[in-house]
């Protein structure tokens, strides 16, 4: 996991927008109280509220089965919500047929028509709507995705990455209000995936349309989207800019699914307007009150491994902060850009520490006594009733 640039934690932005009922005022995609139950009683999506601003690159992120693909298919018109409404630029499209809504989809399997060549695949939507200038527009679109030379080939003759770009072009040429991407990079290998992420982002900036991207890969979501909604169990756990989600997660699921976190048991001692004091296994630590996401006194003190500083006992570390003595290094992994430590604390828990290899600090070895510390503004406090391991197993990659 890469280091995230330090950003001052912004005041919480309301992720559940005001329910004003005035849909016509909103020019983006809006879901209100959308629920989808399948035959058999399985609820894939429950009471979902979502605002996707026009022109944004929006990611729905979550493990498989969290309801993100169902949400996407309801927006595309391939599923009908059990209840709730979907509006697009003020128009109610909840029950509109898929071929009557200004939404296009890039399917996970691409779903390119095998009996048509690339040109006709891309032209398909224009021809169905009897649009003019099909020839010129298809050629322009093929140029945008750099496939002009492949126009007369069949989909089966193209590589995976090329097929993916055809699928993108075929959807984009219709100038949809919203472009839906259903894990479109899932079938590609890692290297191609990374370059396609950049490519898709470039195209989105160029055409300036609303993209809704469904993925289970948190790195992909953070790289590409300007707003990420983390979904779990049919509801949105948290929504915001990637840095905001990463820096200030509001549930253990987000804390673990989006990068790794140390979660340590703590008890609130005192709540003030700016700072909340927490007793953590007998050590007093403070957490900025805007970063406290629990009303109860029992909580998890959370801190990202790269925010934890490691040093020999007694040495003054960085700025005045929370210092936790009595650690013993139990494991050291040198990974080049950083060194990753596991430090066993006096209460028996092992904490993760990622130390950037700047050359200014020496490496510690297994068995050494160390002290940990972190700046209070990086810590966050979560509700103790949540599972400390939630989301960790579903995380993609490290």
């Amino acid at each position: 996991m890469s280091q995230v640039a330090e950003t001052p934690t912004s005041p919480e932005r309301p992720s559940a927008p005001a329910r004003d009922g005035d849909h016509t005022a909103y020019d983006g995609l809006r879901l209100r109280q959308v629920t989808k139950e399948f035959a058999g009683g399985f609820t894939a999506v429950r009471s979902l509220d979502l605002d996707v601003p026009r022109g944004s690159f929006f990611a729905l992120l979550g493990p498989s089965g969290c309801g993100k693909t169902t949400t996407l298919r309801m927006v595309a018109g391939l599923e009908t919500p059990t209840s709730g409404t979907i509006t697009l630029a003020g128009q109610d499209i909840t029950y509109a047929k898929p071929y009557r809504r200004p939404v296009n989809t890039v399917f996970q399997s691409y779903a390119l028509f095998p009996h048509l060549d690339i040109f006709e695949n891309v032209a398909f939507g224009l021809r169905r709507r009897k649009e003019k200038d099909v020839d010129r527009r298809v050629r322009e679109m093929l140029e945008l995705v750099e496939l002009s030379s492949q126009a007369r080939k069949r989909p089966a003759q193209l590589s995976g990455g090329q097929q993916q770009r055809v699928a993108l072009a075929r959807a984009l040429i219709n100038q949809p209000e919203v472009l839906l991407l259903d894990e479109p990079l899932g079938a590609l290998d890692l290297k191609l995936r990374r370059s396609m992420q950049i490519e898709v982002k470039r195209i989105q900036m160029e055409v300036g349309r609303t993209f809704v991207h469904v993925t289970h890969d948190q790195e992909e979501a953070m790289t590409m989207a300007d707003t990420v909604a983390v979904m779990n169990g049919g509801v949105i756990e948290q929504m915001g800019a990637p840095a905001e989600l990463y820096e200030n997660p509001r549930s253990t699921f987000v804390a673990n699914f989006l990068g790794q976190s140390n979660l340590i048991e703590g008890r609130v001692v005192q709540r003030a307007a700016d700072v909340t004091s927490v007793d953590m296994h007998g050590i007093a630590v403070s957490v900025p009150t805007p970063r406290v996401h629990t009303d109860s006194d029992a909580g998890w003190v959370g801190i990202r491994p790269e925010k934890v500083l490691i040093g020999p006992p007694g040495e003054e570390l960085d700025a005045p902060g929370n210092t936790i003595p009595g650690g013993v290094v139990s494991d050291v992994s040198f990974v080049g850009v950083s060194t990753q430590y596991l430090v066993r604390m006096p209460w028996g828990q092992e904490l993760q520490v990622f130390s950037q290899n700047t050359g200014r600090t020496r490496m510690f070895s297994q068995g050494e006594q160390v002290e940990l510390s972190w700046r209070p503004e990086y810590a966050f406090l979560l509700d103790r009733s949540q599972d400390a391991a939630a989301g960790a197993a579903e995380r993609v990659g490290g």
Partner: protein, 269 residues
């Protein structure tokens, strides 16, 4: 060991396989050969001399060509109906969910599993029981042929439909195709090769059927029944002309299909 010997050892299975394949062509070679035969007598079935007469006068025995025309007629008609009914049923079985779906699948499977003689005698029993035993002929043959071709059509089209990615139709709908356009532009073109194959199979089954037809034909004669009849009293060599033409036509159909495939593959760079 000689080089040839070593080659045979290494390719023993292939050589044996090719021998089996060659064995299946022996009767075809005889059919082609006999189509040029000038028989010395009607009762001896042997190659006596070369002639082109059989090819020049294929309808020397008018009975044969009548039977042939009847077989083609029945084949085309029953293929048409069986293909339409079978394709509709295949769509129902793959695309639709309804009570009795698995019973319907069984209903389609059983006629293919039952011996022909049982299918034929069942139908005859029905025709006799309902007082149609006097009207056996063209239409009772047609009814029987549609019945046994239907199952094969359903199976062939069903396989093609089931192998189709259903995201393709969703993609078409997503790209502004109405249900009718989706069917015309995407579903049908993709299923068509399956339907065509099913129709060809259906025609050849109908054209070639003897056991079921013979029981339900009354006095009507199809081509296989004609051959059966003349087998007892001397076979006109024109029968072999027909056999050769059938072989050539089927090979031609296969070659055309294969060339089409190759051409599509050759576009690969």
């Amino acid at each position: 060991m000689s080089r040839a010997g070593r080659w045979v050892r290494e390719h023993l299975v292939l050589v044996l396989g090719l021998l089996v394949l060659a064995y299946t062509f022996v009767p075809i070679a005889i059919v082609v050969l006999m189509s040029f035969n000038a028989p010395a007598s009607r009762n001896v079935y042997a190659f006596d001399g070369f002639t082109l007469d059989n090819w020049a006068n294929p309808c020397a025995d008018p009975g044969m060509c009548d039977a042939l025309a009847r077989s083609v007629q029945i084949g085309l008609l029953s293929t048409l109906l069986a293909t339409v009914l079978g394709t509709l049923a295949a769509f129902a079985l793959v695309r639709h969910d309804f009570a009795g779906r698995s019973a319907s699948n069984l209903l389609v499977f059983l006629p293919m599993a039952a011996p022909e003689i049982v299918l034929g005698s069942s139908l005859l029993a029905l025709f006799v029981a309902t007082g149609f035993s006097g009207q056996l002929g063209f239409w009772t043959i047609f009814v029987a042929h549609v019945m046994f071709c239907l199952s094969f059509v359903v199976v062939a089209v069903r396989a093609r439909l089931a192998g189709m990615d259903d995201h393709l139709e969703q993609a078409a709908m997503d790209l502004y195709a109405t249900p009718v356009q989706t069917f015309r532009r995407v579903t049908f073109p993709l299923v068509f090769p399956g339907i065509l194959g099913a129709a060809l199979l259906s025609f050849s089954l109908s054209f070639d059927d003897f056991i079921i037809t013979n029981l339900n034909a009354g006095t009507t004669t199809t081509f296989p029944m004609y051959v059966w009849g003349v087998a007892q009293r001397g076979v006109p060599m024109q029968v072999n002309v027909i056999g050769t033409v059938m072989f050539l036509v089927s090979v031609a159909i296969v070659v055309v299909g294969e060339v089409g495939n190759r051409r599509r593959l050759a576009a690969r760079t």
